[in-house]
Symmetry: C2
């Protein structure tokens, strides 16, 4: 990449940048994130950050894993925040790298408030959120004039790891023709049941996108009534996004990644029959 | 910027890339968008694209305005789509540059389907959507564990330029603690009234962010009961985002851009009183 005719802010010693790495594809990293990675002394990164993105850090930068998956005991949120504060106070240029966007189900607000409490200066660098980027790579726009003027994002698990308490499923089902759930695989059966109980149709199209925008991306098309069984049969693993609504039908026309691999697209996808992957 | 240790796809002759330019700040452009701009023969751009982003195109690239604002007669959507097809068929490398994300209230799906109908190959390059990026630059996370597990995005005007028909305001008001409206200034009074009629509190915090992430960014804090009057008094112009919900209170802690200019942040913003800008 040539030298940019742009002046971007520098990641200064003693600062923390809370940076969104986007959904996976390194091409979806922002210029600011890229510059921050190039300048950081320490990169504190999450489980869902693509290794190719981490490779953009300086060779001599320290890389610290702060992920919450895998067999090892996970650092708690206060641990991670304390670590960011400690590094910043030591005069390091600290880049906190989170999957997707730090302020969309990313706990970026909590980490930033911990920095505020300690007087550590920070900048927020938004990233492409997984739902919007991930659905786009599955050929599904989160909005489309003919289908929806509203889109709702919901996290599939709350503080305790269960489906979040206090969701008003009836209002969600009625208020938003398009719903996208983050981290919803574990509780997919419950989510589908609640939407059905709240009046959504069992033949409503659903797409499940795992490892969105990476080379391991898988997309399963199903219906609200069948998706829990289909996902189990297909052996789809987290992390995955679940999209519910007519927007999913647009994939028959807009699956540009499929078209790269030879899929024939239709220019009139909303007229086509609902697709359900054979599993 | 140094040479990337990454292989990104090339924008090939005869192809169209539908690219999101992000909310304004050129630092929020993606690496893919940046590469596409560098390779494109023709950039067809919208009104809300920052000139500094357009400057990243090759000096000899054709720049075609397809905006829908200003005094001149606006090109229709079929005009724009036909133009993209014509350029691609002429063997050009065509970059269609849209504000925000092409698939979030951006009509990207319509343009892509027109390309499909004409057999023109395309790629979608997501951008940071204005709501998420714009709110982040106002110090407002669209989600935060203590306030919401759901966020809903709504367009403030529909096909006819009016508040979209068919919105279920009661369900929106009940289903989503955090609502973000795009292009909502014109109909702000109506939107606030409907939310109040549907049971949202008149003292609920609201933020209006105009020209988000640009040097002209303005943020007005108000309440649902007062925002229409406050915005009129302050003379805030479109384009603007409107955020409704407790998330707005987090700005007292997370306004990092304000902190750069000397604002003192609080580490406990949800405990603080609701702020209303004097106007």
């Amino acid at each position: 990449m040539d030298k940019l005719p742009l002046t971007l802010p520098d990641l200064e010693p003693g600062w923390v940048w809370l940076v969104g790495a986007g959904p996976g594809d390194p091409g979806l990293l922002t210029l600011l994130a890229h510059q921050g990675l190039h300048q950081a002394d320490i990169v504190v990164y999450d489980a869902l950050v693509d290794p190719r993105i981490l490779d953009l850090a300086r060779p001599d930068a320290l890389r610290e894993y702060a992920g919450k998956r895998g067999g090892k005991p996970s650092p708690t949120q206060p641990d991670i925040s304390a670590r960011l504060v400690r590094h910043a106070r030591a005069g390091k240029r600290v880049l906190r790298l989170k999957g997707g966007d730090p302020f969309v189900f990313g706990r970026g607000g909590e980490e930033a408030l911990a920095l505020v409490a300690s007087g550590v200066p920070f900048r927020v660098v938004p990233g492409i959120t997984s739902s919007i980027g991930g659905l786009a790579y599955a050929g599904i726009p989160v909005t489309h004039r003919e289908t929806n003027h509203v889109v709702t994002f919901v996290t599939g698990h709350g503080v305790t790891g269960e489906v979040p308490d206090g969701l008003d499923w009836t209002s969600l089902a009625r208020g938003s023709p398009a719903l996208v759930f983050y981290m919803a695989i574990k509780h997919l059966g419950t989510i589908a049941e609640r939407l059905l109980a709240a009046g959504r149709r069992s033949e409503e199209p659903v797409a499940v996108i795992s490892r969105a925008t990476t080379e391991q991306q898988r997309v399963l098309e199903s219906t609200l009534g069948s998706v829990a069984v289909d996902v189990a049969n297909a052996g789809i693993e987290p992390p995955a996004l679940v999209a519910v609504g007519e927007i999913v039908r647009l994939r028959a026309g807009l699956d540009w990644l499929g078209a790269l691999a030879g899929r024939k697209l239709t220019a009139d996808p909303l007229a086509s029959k609902i697709h359900r992957d054979a599993v």
